[in-house]
């Protein structure tokens, strides 16, 4: 169908439809906005956790202490064995002298306590181990523990797995959010459009009886639905910008070790996701609603 001349007409009609049912339009925009901001915030929390978990992994917080019966040379030779373990991305050998220095640095002005220990170093040789994939963290820790010559391993297995668990829960929660609120949004949009079509059923009947195609009748409602949902996306984006960071920061401010993800780092992906989701909601909402009155 040749509709290139009709876009202005469709647009005008669509905008008019929005104002005819002002309250319903307002309600559906509000709900879609809420849906997007809630989901967006949960996703931001997830990004924060993922960042923190990755951080923990890269800190190299697996410390593997070498059996004291091994000579310094043999202890240094373990590096090759450790590097060969699956999922190990890096290994740093901290011999006893370096260990002492690091300890002194940590103690700062109290380091004098350690004076004189250089000649009778009580520390053990030690390895710091980094992993590639934090997901296999526990297996890697186990493999390091089982390496011959390693006496003892310190790893924040619990902290990492807790965070992972939290992230998984948030993942499920945000998915549920998206699906539930998405459904509510589609329902609301389709009801708004249904109301608009019901209001205009006589008009639609006349259009069809004088030869309008379904596409022609549908176009203004389709545009109405798109305008509503994209408006919601833009409002949600602005809201997320203003309050999103504040929410995440206040929720996590007590947990100083967290690497808080900032909305500003994800502006484009967020805008894309919001508008994309809104478009899907808009299209589904309008498709669900207008079939009924087209049968003339």
């Amino acid at each position: 169908m040749n509709n290139r001349h009709n876009f202005a007409y469709f647009f005008r009609e669509g905008v008019q439809g929005i104002f005819t049912h002002g309250f319903m339009s307002f309600a559906s925009v509000s709900v879609i906005t809420t849906c997007l901001v809630l989901t967006g915030t949960v996703v931001l929390l997830m990004l924060t956790l993922t960042g923190t978990i990755d951080e923990l992994g890269s800190v190299g917080d697996i410390r593997a202490y070498v059996d004291e019966t091994l000579s310094d040379e043999n202890a240094a030779a373990l590096e090759t064995t450790l590097r060969a373990i699956d999922n190990v991305s890096g290994v740093d050998f901290i011999d006893r002298a370096r260990g002492l220095n690091e300890l002194k640095e940590q103690l700062g002005e109290n380091s004098t306590l350690l004076d004189g220990l250089e000649n009778d170093n009580p520390l053990r040789n030690c390895y710091r181990v980094w992993v590639t994939d934090i997901g296999d963290y526990q297996d890697t820790v186990l493999a390091v523990e089982n390496t011959r010559g390693i006496a003892q391993v310190y790893a924040s297995v619990d902290a990492v797995s807790e965070l992972q668990r939290l992230r998984n829960i948030l993942g499920v929660a945000s998915l549920t959010f998206v699906i539930m609120l998405g459904m509510v949004s589609i329902f609301l949009i389709s009801n708004t459009i249904k109301l608009a079509t019901f209001d205009r059923r006589e008009e639609i009947g006349i259009m069809k009886i004088i030869g309008a195609t379904d596409g022609f009748v549908r176009a203004p409602f389709f545009i109405e639905s798109l305008i509503l949902s994209v408006t919601a996306a833009v409002i949600a984006f602005v809201l997320q910008w203003i309050i999103g960071d504040a929410i995440v920061e206040s929720a996590l401010s007590s947990l100083t070790f967290m690497k808080v993800a900032s909305f500003r780092d994800f502006l484009l992906p967020y805008l894309g996701a919001f508008v994309g989701t809104a478009l899907i909601i808009g299209v589904l909402g309008s498709l669900l609603s207008i079939r009924k009155f087209l049968r003339v």
């Binding site: 001349h5 007409y9 006349i206 009886i209 004088i210 030869g211 195609t213």
Partner: protein, 261 residues
């Protein structure tokens, strides 16, 4: 071309509106369809524009078989026909201008074409000065003329008018009929449903008479033959021995009542 063959139409209520209609109207013809109220005239129109599908029989219009065509083809059939509906079917929220322009938007006409053509047809039906009014602000006759303008605007190959002069004064009615005849002389097929005997008799055209869902007369030249039929079969009790000699006499009041309805 319109071809109804053995067409039966029953409504959901059980009313048998048409009971075996055979009617053929060739391209370029001018045909009056007459008959008493409730005889099935509007039902025939609904079948022609595929607003209804026949309960039995076949309806072919401008190359489309309405019982066999796909739903997506229906709009294209309707675009070959300009219909003046008995109840106008104007969109109340739109202005007169928009109502007429709308028919052109549907077919994807350019804004330029729409401006020129709508102005032209509104002028043709004498409503150029009311282009900005809404249908509810017009008289019945004016609404009827908007409906006529809309039927003409796309230059359809077939124009169907259901009581196009029902709300018009005699001068206007004659004017509209002459307009339709003129359009017919340019090659458009025209089918006019009417009660107005005097009007029909002023034109020497084919008259198809229908009663009780059946065609009871089909010949050229005047309402007269139909009335003869009506006298003979409708009112067998009343004796009207020579209807041919007193065509104007019987049932005059009843006729004008129907026109008001």
């Amino acid at each position: 071309m319109i071809h109804l063959s053995d067409v039966y139409q029953s409504y959901a209520t059980g009313t048998r509106a048409l009971q075996g209609i055979n009617l053929r109207i060739e391209d370029g013809e001018f045909v009056f369809l007459v008959g008493p109220s409730g005889s099935g005239k509007s039902t025939i129109i609904k079948l022609i524009i595929a607003e209804l599908l026949p309960t039995a029989g076949r309806v072919t219009v401008n190359g489309y078989n309405t019982t066999k065509m796909r739903a997506s083809e229906v709009p294209y059939l309707r675009r070959t026909i300009g219909v003046v509906f008995q109840d106008f079917r104007l969109i109340e929220k739109k202005t007169v201008y928009e109502n007429v322009a709308f028919a052109m938007r549907i077919v994807g006409a350019s804004p330029q074409e729409i401006r020129n053509r709508v102005a032209y047809v509104l002028d043709l039906v004498g409503l150029a000065h009311k282009a900005r009014r809404k249908p509810t602000e017009l008289s019945g006759g004016e609404q009827q003329r908007v409906s006529i303008a809309r039927a003409l605007v796309n230059n359809p190959s077939l124009i169907i008018a259901d009581e196009p002069t029902g709300n018009l004064d005699p001068d206007r009615s004659l004017e509209i009929m002459m307009l339709l005849e003129h359009i017919n002389s340019l090659g458009t097929t025209v089918l006019v449903v009417t009660h107005e005997k005097e009007l029909v008799n002023q034109f020497n055209q084919r008259v198809v008479a229908i009663d009780g869902g059946l065609i009871v007369s089909d010949r050229t030249g005047g309402y007269y033959q139909y009335e003869q039929y009506e006298n003979r079969y409708k009112h067998p009790g009343e004796s009207t021995p020579e209807p041919t000699e007193q065509p104007e006499q019987p049932e005059q009041p009843e006729q004008s009542d129907e026109q008001q309805a």
